[in-house]
């Protein structure tokens, strides 16, 4: 079951010391410590990367692509997440970063912000014509999509079926470059410069799409050193603030007051997984029906807070806002053009999204009921302080693992201590009675 899902993280057993940092940080309780090493439960993991942030031993390796992996493409287009711009000082314009990316081995660079504008307009059109259940939930963050598929399968129908800007950008750039160079599209690689590992999973699994238009993803942190070195010879005077960047489009990289440039009325934006989870809990209870659209970012402050970035998310957000303010306000694409493409379905997902709920305690509900009772019986006996020494993130998770046969009840140190105490007591009693027996004899 578990192996059918792609993942973007690998746990390095040689580096792991079983310190439990990742287990405590995991928002979906997908980590266990077994035999002193962390391991992930593949069907629970949503690739949010919270474990990468907290691991003190760098034992969790993101499976992003390396520059060397890209040699298979005849022509390489870098598609940087707008979060990349926010890693550098404000006097480093996007056009300078583009020049440096070309120094690093890319043949061309495509800005995502115009596609962000187009997707915003497409979203507006979709919202105006939508007549289903509210609220709709944003789908550009792959971790949020996965969270819904795994934890909120009944809300999957409410994911916005509009393509993510990075996909639109990759598709358009590849088509254009194929025309310009005469190369077949399959020899052109569209490479996302990513702030998080989840984009890798989105490329491999392409939820809602027959296939992804992106071919690879290189992380911002892997590229940063090389990019910074390539930036220094780039003459500042040669570069001006790029007209290809949109102020509105850049706002996709961070949490704003309201979702992008969408009308503020009845919309909401949320960032950080624990907050997203709370909001989705409310959606599930039918509490937020009066909202039409909720934008959810898994990372704190949005993509600028991605776990594969280098800058502090708040500093990065500040820089992103300043860059945005230095550009002419508004969007840079023609509404009528987007509308025409929208009518040709160029902005819509071409496959339906499906839930992939966690397996229940048992596929047979009668057996699941018996196991749930057993879980509660075990839980009742546990200290409920979630110490983690057993290797599970909470007493409840441990009780469930025991019922599912994945952990032994004896692993609980408190239970063990109590059993030991009882044994000592028994032994002491035995000694006492023996002594009395011996002492009682004449």
């Amino acid at each position: 079951m578990a192996s059918q899902y792609h993942h973007s993280l690998r746990f390095d057993v040689d580096r792991c010391e079983g310190c439990m940092s990742c287990m405590r940080a995991c928002p979906t309780a997908a980590v266990r410590i077994r035999k002193g090493r962390a391991m992930k439960l593949a069907d629970r993991c949503i690739d949010c990367g919270e474990c990468i942030r907290v691991c003190p031993r760098a034992a969790i390796v993101p499976l992003t692509d390396q520059m060397a992996d890209l040699s298979k493409f005849k022509y390489k287009i870098a598609i940087p997440s707008p979060a990349l711009y926010a890693q550098f000082d404000t006097e480093v314009f996007p056009s300078m970063i583009f020049a440096a990316l070309k120094q690093c081995g890319f043949d061309d660079v495509e800005s995502v912000s115009p596609a962000c504008d187009a997707v915003t307009i497409a979203t507006e059109i979709f919202l105006n014509e939508y007549r289903g259940q509210y609220p709709l939930i944003s789908s550009f963050c792959p971790t949020v999509v996965r969270l819904l598929q795994v934890k909120y399968p009944e809300l999957v129908d409410q994911l916005l079926p509009v393509l993510a800007p990075r996909e639109v950008s990759a598709r358009d750039a590849k088509l254009r470059k194929s025309r310009e160079t005469g190369l077949p599209p399959e020899q052109i690689g569209a490479v996302y410069i990513t702030p998080c590992p989840a984009k890798i999973v989105a490329i491999l699994e392409h939820p809602g799409m027959q296939r992804s238009h992106l071919d690879a993803a290189v992380s911002i942190c892997d590229l940063f050193q090389t990019l910074a070195a390539a930036l220094s010879p780039v003459q500042e005077s040669e570069y001006k603030l790029d007209a290809a960047e949109s102020a509105d489009g850049l706002s996709w990289a961070f949490l704003g007051k309201f979702p992008r440039s969408l009308p503020a009325e009845n919309t909401l934006s949320v960032a950080g997984l624990p907050n997203v989870i709370r909001i989705l809990d409310d959606v599930e209870k039918g509490r937020l029906r009066k909202y039409s659209y909720i934008e959810c970012h898994a990372c704190p402050e949005g993509c600028v807070g991605g776990c594969l970035t280098v800058e502090n998310p708040y500093l990065a957000r500040g820089k992103a806002i300043r860059l945005q303010q230095s550009l002419p306000a508004g969007c840079i694409v023609e509404r009528s053009e987007v509308e025409a493409s929208y009518r040709k379905k160029e902005f819509l997902m071409d496959e339906s999204l499906a839930g992939r709920p966690l397996s229940p305690l048992d596929e047979d509900i009668s057996k699941a009921i018996i196991k749930m009772k057993e879980r509660d019986r075990i839980l009742w006996d546990l200290p409920k302080i979630d110490c983690g020494a057993c290797g599970a993130p909470s007493c409840r998770a441990f009780a469930e693992d025991v019922v599912l046969g994945e952990a032994d009840e004896a692993l609980c140190v408190f239970r063990w201590q109590r059993v030991l105490g009882e044994r000592i007591e028994e032994l002491a009693n035995l000694v006492r009675t023996q002594r009395q027996t011996i002492g009682g004899q004449p």
Binding site: E154, K285, G286, R287, L361, S366, I369
Partner: protein, 145 residues
């Protein structure tokens, strides 16, 4: 005797900071039991509305959950002011919520009607000055083979 999983949750009136936790917990339990997403969604709505009614109007109360192969049953029992005219309370838009409750986004007069709409079986009884009892049953969809 069919096997059923039972659990009882206590709810305190006016405890707005914990309001909603019981329905979240019920919903998580149903998912672990493998109850279908459509049923989970209906129970989530029903249990949340019932929990909020309790928090807003009652002194205290309890929600008893029972899950069997056939159905999910919620029995809500509160100590509170009771409902003088149940038919009126079941009308959409009828509400006795205070300005304070409305400010918090509640009291649109949809609570009980919403519960009834999402339930397969619905029973309510109330005694003024004593409290209100609700019994809601939601049938599990056709079994997955």
């Amino acid at each position: 005797m069919p096997e059923a999983f039972e659990s009882i949750y206590q709810v305190l009136g006016r405890d707005f900071s914990n309001a909603g936790k019981v329905s979240t917990s019920i919903k998580d339990t149903l998912k672990r039991l493998g109850v279908s997403p459509a049923v989970v969604r209906r129970v989530a709505i029903v249990s949340y509305e019932a929990e909020m009614n309790l928090v807003m109007y009652a002194i205290r109360g309890k929600v008893a959950l029972s899950v069997s192969r056939e159905s999910v049953t919620l029995k809500v029992d509160d100590e509170g002011p009771g409902i003088p005219d149940i038919n009126l309370a079941l009308q959409e838009g009828y509400s006795t919520a205070t300005a304070e409750m409305r400010e918090m986004g509640f009291g649109a007069g949809m609570g009980l009607p919403n519960i009834r709409k999402n339930a397969d079986e619905f029973d309510i009884s109330s005694e003024v000055g004593r409290g209100t009892k609700l019994c809601i049953r939601i049938l599990q969809a056709a079994e997955v083979i």
